[in-house]
């Protein structure tokens, strides 16, 4: 699980071009949107594509993303349970 969290942090930094943020600056329970990392709706779309491409998880309802992308901890739990690859 901790490997997956590390992997998610690396992917988020790379794919969302968060070049000023280091991996250790993202705590597992930090909110990804709003006051935390400050991600926005375009980032949410990028994360939905990432779930599909890298973990085989298709989100049919975009509203689900709001809960799933709450934090690295929540994302990692969801991926562990639902991943198909």
């Amino acid at each position: 699980m901790s490997d997956l969290k590390q992997e998610l942090k690396e992917k988020i930094i790379t794919q969302l071009n968060l070049e000023d943020i280091a991996i250790d600056e993202i705590a597992d329970n930090d909110p990804l949107f709003g006051d935390g990392l400050g991600l926005d709706s375009i980032d949410a779309l990028e994360l939905i594509v990432m779930l599909d491409k890298d973990y085989g998880i298709k989100l049919t309802d975009p509203k689900e993303g709001k809960k799933i992308f709450e934090s690295i901890e929540v994302m990692a739990n969801y991926i562990t349970t639902h991943r198909t690859k």
């Binding site: 070049e19 990028e46 599909d52």
Partner: protein, 354 residues
């Protein structure tokens, strides 16, 4: 009709041109066939959260525009008009490559959203909160001049007071590969100081962004007055001289009134003869300068020539590195720019000391 002045400039190019206080004091020479723009520290100009989705062309355009706005001491303008030949080509390459690599699946939105030709003008408008006229011309190597003509008409007829005009193009890796294959880029790497002696096909490609605040009110920061701009999609070499004389006549000028000719020579064996027609003909006794060994060739490289003309008129100085002949004018009152790319899309631009 109202006069139109260049009240400020902002330039990012293959030279250190982003500091308006200096004028080519330090020339960077390259040994290559594609040369990159020297970038300022973008964090000094764009918040990291906004910059993270911007490709190089957008950052160059936004920062060059910001430098020009600051020098003009303006927080907003009536219109933003840009010219670009290839638009945000890096993001275009990125999303098209993603389509191919992922069998048309898993397409992410960012590069697609940012890949349009009018992204730069849009981002500038968002940054300064400009809700006025916003237009981007995509007319190959007269893209910048087309933007200029639009701004001139609006300012001459007092439809606007201050307009931000710019030319911007970024280098794209895949696009450059294609241009090398068809020899529009020179096959060999070349010392840019020896560009005009290369005697080979193609040009050295470059990139950059040059922005200007144009106004019908002359400010203390004024660089030059724009007298006229004319473009031609096609112009046979046999008609070049006559058309240029006609352009000068339309502006009540003759060859003797031109103090400096800024020529767009790019060292392409097949197409520099257009420039030679003027430099060895009509303007044989006129001081001549060139600039594409400094900027590289790109669709809006002539905006760097326009920057150069504005700088020459304001500083009354010509760096020795851009001299095309040994003739020296007594002063620099009127400057003529001529540019074309591969024998098409010609432009004449006239600037006067203000």
């Amino acid at each position: 009709m109202e006069k139109v002045f260049i009240n400020s400039i902002g330039s990012i190019s293959a030279q250190k041109t982003f500091d308006n206080k200096v004028f080519l004091e330090e020339i960077t020479t390259y040994e290559d066939n594609v040369i990159p723009a020297i970038e300022p520290n973008y964090k000094d100009f764009i918040p990291p959260a906004a910059a993270r989705r911007m490709a190089k062309g957008i950052k160059m355009g936004v920062v060059a525009a910001k430098i020009a706005m600051e020098e003009a001491n303006l927080s907003n303008v009536d219109a933003i008009i840009t010219g670009t030949g290839m638009g945000c080509v890096r993001d275009s390459e990125k999303f098209v490559t993603a389509i191919l690599d992922n069998q048309e699946q898993f397409l992410t939105p960012t590069s697609f959203i940012q890949s349009t030709h009018n992204t730069v003008a849009g981002q500038i408008a968002l940054g300064i909160g400009c809700k006025g006229y916003n237009f981007t011309y995509v007319h190959s190597s007269i893209s910048f001049e087309s933007a200029l003509i639009d701004a001139l008409m609006q300012l001459q007829t007092k439809e606007a007071e201050n307009i931000l005009v710019g030319g911007v193009d970024e280098s794209g890796e895949h696009t450059n590969t294609i241009h090398k294959l068809i020899q529009h880029i020179k096959l060999e790497k070349i010392n840019t100081n020896k560009l005009l002696q290369s005697n080979t096909e193609g040009a050295v490609f470059g990139e950059g962004a040059n922005f200007f605040v144009l106004s019908n009110n002359k400010q203390n920061s004024c660089y030059a007055q724009i007298l006229g701009v004319k473009t031609f999609n096609t112009l046979p070499i046999s008609k070049l001289t006559a058309n240029l004389e006609g352009f000068l006549k339309d502006n009540n000028l003759s060859v003797d009134d031109i103090d400096v000719l800024i020529s767009g020579n790019n060292g392409d064996l097949n197409f520099d003869n257009y420039y030679l027609e003027l430099t060895q003909g009509l303007f044989n006794n006129t001081q001549q300068v060139y600039y594409k060994h400094l900027s590289g060739e790109f669709n809006t490289a002539s905006s760097f020539g326009f920057w150069l003309g504005a700088k020459i008129l304001k500083t009354q100085h010509i760096p020795s590195e851009i001299a095309l002949n040994s003739i020296k004018s007594k002063g620099f009152g009127t400057v003529l720019l001529y540019n074309q790319y591969r024998g098409k899309n010609h432009s004449f631009t006239l600037l006067r000391q203000c």
